[in-house]
Amino acid sequence: MSIIRVENLVKSYGGLTAIDGISFEVEEGTIFGFLGPNGAGKTTTINVLCTLISATSGKAFINGHDCAKEPSNVRKSIGIVFQDTTLDKDLTARENLVFHAYLYGVKKSEIRTRVHDALTFVGLYERKDDLVKKYSGGMKRRLEVARGLIHRPRVLFLDEPTLGLDPQSRANLWGVITEMPKKHNVTIFMTTHYMEEAEVCDNIAIIDNGKIIAEGSPEELKKTVGGDVISLRTRDNHWSRQEIKKMFGIDSEEKDGELYLTTGRGDACIPELIRGLGDMVLSVKLQRPTINDVFLKLTGKAIRDEDVSGMSNIKEEVRAYRRRH
């Protein structure tokens, strides 16, 4: 069943069309990534789905409730972590969560355990009595995620949850997010511009200028831009090229003393490659297409400039490969 259904949604501000006839569905229990550059219309879409603003035309349903006609039922079904912090910094973490629980009508007898569990889940129980103004950016984000879960929503919206966090806090929060669908029986709708994050989503919609320009699982989307590229350094490139041709029937290219070969599933080829070439191999690198490559191909521009390289991604893959072998 689709827990979120959006049909031809439009939102205009005067002459500006922030969202321009988008349609999509999100399956229950999945992580859905909404990807796009600044001003693409991600936050506007979330605001319509959360019933904070009304659409110019089109329809949106969450958990079977019409966002325009049954805002109260929609609100009960969702939790939201907004792009900018919405915590009361003069209250403690625990007080923020208790406030939320009362606001959402959680039964009084349950509030204590729910607050305790939520704080434990995001690893902030020890710091529960600190004022939020003493929290770091990453802790605030985790606290907001905990708060979003207090009333047991069916869908949790996360608008750029990891933006501006250091790598460690990001990894930490990301661990929390990916655990949620199973642990809390909740569907995740998140916006992001970090490619690595988008790739962990079950499904992705890419939005640009208010329009959805591509949709599908990360694997499906990446297939549209070609296969994986393996690059290797060997003791004898000439001999290795011939061996590779014999093994896979693929011609590899030689560039700057390295061999490059393009295949469908690079990760599956590597073990065979190493078995075949044996001692000749000095190093192997696997470069896979990223969601950014998809975005580049579709729009001719990178989602955000700082993410163009995709280098960190490749390093991760190699490290993971080394660990496995």
């Binding site: 912090t85 003069d90 009362y102």
Partner: protein, 254 residues
């Protein structure tokens, strides 16, 4: 109406009020300054016409001032919440806008009534004699006036998005409201245009109700200007109006 939500809005305000010492201190210092600096100075100038010293005459006005500042301050905190994002947390909740307005209105009422009660304790120092019934009467009026001014403040807060508007509100709305409220002088002695402006001010009826309760037997120029029934009817009617309009304005979606 969602009573949990109303309760927790009030609890939050109360908690913050207790924590913020400076707010409590200035809430008590301001009326003291007016009573003993302005009031004492003016009483040399203003001869007690009907035998009532000026410091006694302004006591209801000082109570009214305490209510005005603390109620508005509490309601205006909505603008802070908008600025710092917390208001979105409230607006996104499955809570009717009416409950939010009533919750915020009662928040202001609680902290404002507490502060007014502290100022009320000064009456013996000023040589006033109040019976138990009168004290109770003053407290009930204080609650009603606090709610009225708080909801008026919420209405103001719907028009502003950033806390820079705070000084605008203070200088162009709150201070004029105080001076045109009969706090410092009897409305009946004012020239016509000022008297009209005063009659349009919700606080006027609040202070007049307090005058009715504190000087029930007073006659002459320093007595109350309207009957207690009129005062209370106006206060309740205005409260109701402010609540309805503010809830409507919050309902508005962009």
């Amino acid at each position: 109406m969602e009573f949990n939500a109303i309760y927790v809005l009030v609890a939050r305000e109360f908690k913050k009020f207790i924590r913020e010492r400076s707010r409590l201190v200035s809430a008590i210092a301001r009326p003291l300054l007016w009573l003993f600096l302005v009031g004492a100075g003016m009483s040399r100038l203003v001869s007690p016409k009907a035998g009532m010293p000026y410091t006694q005459f302004i006591f209801p006005g000082i109570l009214g001032m305490t209510i005005l500042f603390s109620s508005i301050f509490s309601s205006i905190s909505i603008i802070w919440d908008k600025e710092f994002g917390f208001f979105k947390e409230i607006l996104a909740a499955p809570v009717s806008r009416l409950s939010i307005v009533i919750g915020k209105g009662l928040s202001g009422t609680v902290v404002s009534t507490i502060q007014a009660s502290i100022v009320l304790l000064l009456f013996p120092v000023l040589g006033l004699k109040l019976g138990l019934f009168q004290i109770l009467e003053v407290l009930i009026i204080a609650i009603a006036v606090s709610f009225c001014i708080s909801t008026f403040g919420i209405l103001l807060a719907t028009f502003y998005e950033s806390y820079e508007s705070f000084s605008v509100i203070m200088n162009f709305i709150v201070m004029p409201m105080f001076f045109l409220s009969g706090a410092m002088y009897p409305v009946k002695l004012l020239p016509k245009p000022l008297a009209v402006a005063t009659k349009l001010n919700p606080l006027t009826y609040g202070i007049d109700a307090l005058k009715n309760a504190i000087f029930p037997l007073e006659e002459g120029p320093m007595s109350a200007d309207f009957s207690l029934v009129t005062d209370m009817a106006v206060i309740l009617f205005l409260s109701f109006t402010f609540v309805v309009i503010a809830a409507r304005l919050f309902e508005r979606k962009k």
